[in-house]
Subunit: 389 residues, 4 copies
Amino acid sequence: MTYKSGPHFLQIPGPSHVPGRILHAIGQPTIDHRGPEFQKLANEVLAKVKPIFKTECPVVIFPSSGTGAWEAALVNTMNPGDRVLMFETGQFSTLWSELATRVGLKPEVIPGDWRHGVDAAAIEERLKADKAHEIKGVCVVHNETSTGVTSNIRAVRKAIDAAKHPALLLVDTISGLGSADYRHDEWGADVTISGSQKGLMLPPGLSFNAVGPKALKASEKATINRSYWDWQHQIGMNKDGWFPYTPATNLLYGLKEACDMMMEEGLENVFARHDRWAEATRRAVKTWGLEVLCQNADEYSPVLTAVLMPDGHDADKYREVVLDKFDMSLGSGLGKVKGKVFRIGHLGYFNDLMLMGTLSGVEMGLAVAGVPHKKGGAQAAMEYLTGNA
Amino acid sequence: MTYKSGPHFLQIPGPSHVPGRILHAIGQPTIDHRGPEFQKLANEVLAKVKPIFKTECPVVIFPSSGTGAWEAALVNTMNPGDRVLMFETGQFSTLWSELATRVGLKPEVIPGDWRHGVDAAAIEERLKADKAHEIKGVCVVHNETSTGVTSNIRAVRKAIDAAKHPALLLVDTISGLGSADYRHDEWGADVTISGSQKGLMLPPGLSFNAVGPKALKASEKATINRSYWDWQHQIGMNKDGWFPYTPATNLLYGLKEACDMMMEEGLENVFARHDRWAEATRRAVKTWGLEVLCQNADEYSPVLTAVLMPDGHDADKYREVVLDKFDMSLGSGLGKVKGKVFRIGHLGYFNDLMLMGTLSGVEMGLAVAGVPHKKGGAQAAMEYLTGNA
Amino acid sequence: MTYKSGPHFLQIPGPSHVPGRILHAIGQPTIDHRGPEFQKLANEVLAKVKPIFKTECPVVIFPSSGTGAWEAALVNTMNPGDRVLMFETGQFSTLWSELATRVGLKPEVIPGDWRHGVDAAAIEERLKADKAHEIKGVCVVHNETSTGVTSNIRAVRKAIDAAKHPALLLVDTISGLGSADYRHDEWGADVTISGSQKGLMLPPGLSFNAVGPKALKASEKATINRSYWDWQHQIGMNKDGWFPYTPATNLLYGLKEACDMMMEEGLENVFARHDRWAEATRRAVKTWGLEVLCQNADEYSPVLTAVLMPDGHDADKYREVVLDKFDMSLGSGLGKVKGKVFRIGHLGYFNDLMLMGTLSGVEMGLAVAGVPHKKGGAQAAMEYLTGNA
Amino acid sequence: MTYKSGPHFLQIPGPSHVPGRILHAIGQPTIDHRGPEFQKLANEVLAKVKPIFKTECPVVIFPSSGTGAWEAALVNTMNPGDRVLMFETGQFSTLWSELATRVGLKPEVIPGDWRHGVDAAAIEERLKADKAHEIKGVCVVHNETSTGVTSNIRAVRKAIDAAKHPALLLVDTISGLGSADYRHDEWGADVTISGSQKGLMLPPGLSFNAVGPKALKASEKATINRSYWDWQHQIGMNKDGWFPYTPATNLLYGLKEACDMMMEEGLENVFARHDRWAEATRRAVKTWGLEVLCQNADEYSPVLTAVLMPDGHDADKYREVVLDKFDMSLGSGLGKVKGKVFRIGHLGYFNDLMLMGTLSGVEMGLAVAGVPHKKGGAQAAMEYLTGNA
């Protein structure tokens, strides 16, 4: 394709399509971050973002990528050399554990096969074995963006409780928030980590920590050196509608708009449409005779579907064909599954017809790239959608 | 559908999707229409628009709907009471003939069945019979937006020439320009009429008259009262980069951008992708077991496809279902075919995956609305597209 | 100035600065002009625009420049060869009279000196002399954009009534509406003509006719050939939220926003700030030792101030200096006063500090261009504004 | 002021006005940060940003506020407990020293009076006394945003060299870059810190570290725990056009545009206009009988001017009046000078007429707020600008 006509299909699992309403909000003139108009905005945004996390706890907003919020969650709650228990759900849990090492912690990672979510029983077992309570945090990924597998956070909480272990529960729902149901308070997360460029439909540049009371208390005494990521400064100044340093004002405009859009629609409606698209996508995959990476139906991600390539076919070459011929970006396989899977993002500002364009593009790409498959996947998705219109 | 997620599918045959690049251009601050920056813009735009019409003649740009350009073409070239020969290709040729009457002309309309283009032989015959040369203009529609049928303009020119008749040839390509090949100079049009909101990918608000030398000469003596539509004022002032009254500055920004986009891509490439989408669409229609309104394969429109509903099914009710369930606007049947056809626009800023979303939406809508059809239309389109990727 | 930093000062008396809020509205995707969402928009816009004219009569919205609305007002109410009485307030009244001739009417123009508004007594006298009631319309300009002089429309109405003359009152407030108080119903206008690119803060491309009952009645029998400008079609279709041809959808988005902005602020507040800026501007002019073109204090325009250049100095050369050195566009002298006056627009989306930038630019330009003047004009304006902050 | 008409005057010393061209760039659809189009963008941006710093060294771009780049500069080059020498130029040097403490360093701050720049001789003296080379870094602020005082970086470099001291030179030019001349390579900075929301005319959300070879080498062995801020990851991945975590794609669009704008204009022209505005502003201040905070004419900031309030008058109350009456945001006094100074930003996307609006607003505000002053400041500025038009 030499010239692009029509909108690009950005079907990676985030950044997702940014609605015009949000792009417009972001495009408004920057205002004085120390003036009354900003203060009003900040107070609104800080309040509106809480129900998205289903929390009444403070939500800290960083001008940073989601990676920053991973770091913030750890450096505010842990002490140098602390042990944290992690579960290898995929590439992002792996990166997080590497980050933990870099900030001076000792991550202990329970191995996983990248095709299942967190094994809560394994967590419980390990915590029970930790009589000395050397483990200070349990870090899990709610929606593994590299695999399209979700984890049962409620179960992890129960595991910790069952082990009567004081470790904090730190949950990454960077790519889950706003697409998959998530309940910070009810599920008992201590820290929830998220980012702007997925279900929230914003460009990248904001990250979040929802901070539960136990975590907040831990942060008062935590001794890892930190400044930018420090909660105390943030939460202290947020109380009056200010930030400890220049915030990303224009993205805050967009965040306000995003929260309004999600509440106007209703979170449960948002989740329902994601589930619907995910099911339609899996039916297409099955029809093509391909395999979904996630092996447990209870753990299918509503946000993305990772698809295994047939042996002998490189997923990245296939993705190049799709990009070249149909102007669609699909997600690449990351880490261990590089070249072996491609990922279809079906999240955020999206709809049935976009999904059909997406699945048609996947199917046409398979044909053009010479990847063995059966026709009719898009057709199968369509039939599912029709039956649930 | 209570809440809309994702972009609306505006699949009427115009207004068409406006690319972000053009929306951005239009959103720039308005400038002094009597200053040097404007003059530069106007000179550029007036030059860049000519190759779109494949003409070296002046192209007059009106701040108006396309309807205004219909009126302009007539009132600049005709005298009160003049007879004009028209051909009933569909609703728009009919509306144009009504307009002719309202501005004081005597249109004579050769009846058509709305399923074929202009019958050039009938034109020739009628002109030959007009020994007194009472007919002053032949008015035809290049791309009938109400039927999805194109007409052979070159053949009409030949018919006029064969009849050795001095009537001017006035061609409406409001919905054809920039999507279907059109050649003002080569095909011998005297006036070509177009608008901004179709192949040019702009919002509505600009219309055009490409003015050939015979037409321009006629306008010098034409006596229908006119002011806003008067070419002489326009062309005179255009020579120096000005307009006789405040132009629609922001739409001119967009027009410049649109011309640049089309030339960057290459007009022949633009036409080729329209043809491709049209063929894919017709294969879908055929597979559904439905009938394309256009009956002559040489006259299929690359811009839109009008589809006949099965007897006993109302096209407008069906369209409501599609809008409600799938957030897609399809074109309604107009005039004689109201309720009997729906129209699928596949033009302008569009691509294969949007087309697949569109055709999937049409197919899902047929199912949801209970319209008898065979499945597999979208699949058939996909196979055609794959084979021509 | 070789490179422009910062926003251009567009201080011509329209097009005026378009607020970001309106540019954003205009930049939204175009929708189906035959769908329910459009219908809702149209009904809203058609209702919201009425209070701007202070009328309960229908307001017809044309996709055209203001010039089109001049033509529409005449061709809907007059018959071929009808006599209309006009008053020469300046270049725009002159252009309108020329247009009247072109559409087949016989304008009779009472001469004016371009420094005063309409002489209502002269109107009354002429109408009284017209025993045969040959004069069918009285056409006056409310805010003469070429001179910065307003006219007393109420007085013109009284003059017509005093003469017991049935002529219709047609008022052009293209550049007055939304900046200067205007009352279609209360003042007894039969047709009011306006445009989008002045007080309404939109880009050019929409024009208006507010149509009183007498005018509407006249239009039922009026015999000038017309199609695009025809009110009957418009008003008929507007009743259900439609337009007789493709409307300028994106400008309608902007119009809705503009009406909302003006009502949120309150029309009387809008007028008050225009009056304030105009007074500040005149104090600056006086301090510079220059002369305001308008000679009657009751007729000063709140929209713009036309300033006479000292003898021997060319206003257009001066304007070039201001544009070149200070990136500000001032209005040129038009017609009879070409080169003799420049015009300062102080209207629409504007504020005190923009005005001070403007007046400073005028003063600095006078110095740079070597135009004899006294310093302190901007200072004088500032003192007035301070005293009325 | 109850309703705002016209653009807000954001005359704080950053965030500065964002040009429409940049807002438009930012408002484009987000793309795949792992695709070829992004790679091309990244390579361009990473190259285009270097000449802005006048460096050929790598420039690391963080998705963060400027504060993050302060932290990054320290944690990449220092070891826990390292001593850094700082100079108290104002509030920002103070905040930076507090940050140094928080990340585990031992800052030693040479006191200053907030009215002068860095005393290079004091630096030299201190470094000479540090025979053991315990001081690992010298941290100075190029343009103190809290005071409007610049520091001579070249002199600081010479002081370090004269002392034959191996300490790294870390320079904050967050508010100087792109407005005041800055030369990373020529002046011998080891790390230069900046941000997006000042001279670069972007919204806040990006920060920068230009990294010299000595600093880069130090980072290889530096042992402060770090992840988000780590240069090695960034510079390693940047080589191929990638980032180690999701970048702020849309701000990168804007950054590319900003670099293009600055290079099109020419950096020296950019600096010249800032100097001109600063001089005009100081003339206004002097005429008002007020005092500029900066006491050394060689150190006047071209970016902002901090003005001392007369005794007994609160700067913040005055600022409220200006905001309320004239919709202009002025910078507040920070830290030690809270309530005692206000700051006028005259930077970035700005021009002479905006400056005159600004200075008029300051002068009118003084009058309305009852702050003793002499009139004529704006007039004095105007005369200076006229003499240098």
